[in-house]
Symmetry: C2
């Protein structure tokens, strides 16, 4: 894949998130549209979520009919090209239904080995985060700001983020997270996809989460990596399938956090076999 | 106080938060300006915080030289008029230093008995929430939207917010919060002043916090009350001095939550005596 092709992928990813935003934004702060996906437990999904994903799929059908699609709402459709678009129209549905502007639309492009291009769009705030091998940057109004992690190398100086303390299973998993949090200078909850983008921006140092899906992370991996950060599972392995994941601003912090996490490793989920290339 | 005077107070409060924003915004996502107020523990304060409050105080010196001022950064200065401006230039400093757009500038006007006018400004997102006896509304771009609480009357249907699970003292206080949270449909952390504004907007139903200060709540009380909500301490008393506070969308939810909280009541802090009128 050439640099020009990569830039085309970035341009397309930006058009995809914009198409989703056009559908999603009118529903933000209009809770009456919310329905529950599961009757047991609380898994909020909105008309906006499904419509946003459909808007992206419709555009891909024209622009990249041979690519596969893995989406939060409408599942997996294998392609023939070897590439798969990985979509979460509203990452942070709980923030969305609470009216908080910390959700985002995620679009990643998986090449059979890794996510090469990723975009996070927060259309209410009006900012987009982009990562690819050509670099990572934030777009707001007409300003383009390069993203770069910062150089905090001890847990005592680090800011840690996670979406919800309840995302960790009680027992070793929750205890391992707490062990890191107790060492850190500051822990913020309620951060969703924003946390990874703010890590890329050098605002926070660690994001540690569990029970996340491929579509929660694939758009964010290229943003973190192109900004100089590290993105793995708690075991230090490939994070593209989700599960227990960690993003760190640098290798030293990553290593320090993994020491606390390595007693609580769970088997990682698997991507659909058809997504991976030999 | 007449309606016209009240509207003048609202107009002035809006100019005050704008003056603060002009100073504060250039520091957002520029962490190198952060300093620690307390060497023990973590209480981040920024140059922006102090400068923002100074900008408000300078304007008040010209516009309302006889009014008192109680500010987070620069303390209490009694006035002679019987009214006190209650200021928090950056509510949510932890969000601010993490780059999250969920902090806000708070300005309330206390009349010796209660806060009559309150404004919350989030200048990065570009929205302002206003409350007074004339009503509550949100301003964004040139659009003015009236605020109204929603009508969720059971904890099982309610969304609960709090800034941080660690704000509750371990023991009865933390247990009481958890008892409410376990009943609720959804609990969101990391919400700061936004939670109260979203309650006024009908997006969330309960905000339960502890260890908050007068300047954390006084701007928000008129917003919640003018939107139809209820704002008290956990004991059901006057919340203007802070401490343990609860905002609820309606009397039924308020009562249901208080049942869980009433075993964990702590003595409320006191406002400076000179702020109160006989």
């Amino acid at each position: 894949v050439t640099s020009a092709e990569r830039n085309e992928d970035v341009e397309l990813a930006l058009r995809l998130v914009d198409a989703a935003a056009q559908f999603i934004l009118p529903y933000f702060r209009c809770l009456e549209t919310v329905e529950n996906k599961l009757s047991a437990g609380f898994d909020p999904v909105t008309v906006a979520d499904k419509g946003g994903e459909q808007a992206i799929r419709t555009m891909l059908q024209t622009e990249r009919p041979d690519d596969g699609i893995l989406g939060e709402e409408l599942g997996y459709r294998p392609g023939t090209s070897g590439s798969t678009w990985v979509l979460d129209p509203i990452d942070g549905t709980r923030a969305f239904i609470s009216g908080l502007p910390t959700w985002g639309t995620l679009v990643g492009l998986y090449d059979g080995h890794r996510a090469r291009v990723g975009v996070m769009n927060q259309p209410f705030v009006g900012e987009r985060f982009v990562g690819s091998p050509e670099g990572a940057f934030c777009l707001r109004s007409s300003k383009k700001t390069p993203l770069r992690v910062r150089n905090v190398e001890t847990l005592e100086q680090a800011t840690l983020c996670a979406t919800d303390p309840a995302m960790f299973r009680p027992g070793p998993e929750a205890n391992a997270f707490r062990a890191v949090a107790e060492q850190c200078r500051l822990t913020r909850f309620g951060t969703d996809c924003y946390a990874y983008c703010l890590l890329a921006m050098g605002q926070v140092d660690l994001v540690i989460e569990a029970n996340v899906q491929a579509y929660d992370v694939q758009a964010l991996i290229p943003i973190v990596e192109a900004a100089g950060g590290i993105f793995t599972t708690w075991a230090g392995d490939d994070p593209h399938a989700g599960g227990q994941v960690i993003a760190a601003a640098n290798p030293r912090l990553h290593e320090l956090a993994l020491r606390h996490l390595n007693g609580a490793i769970q088997p990682a989920p698997k991507l659909p076999a058809a997504m991976r290339r030999p």
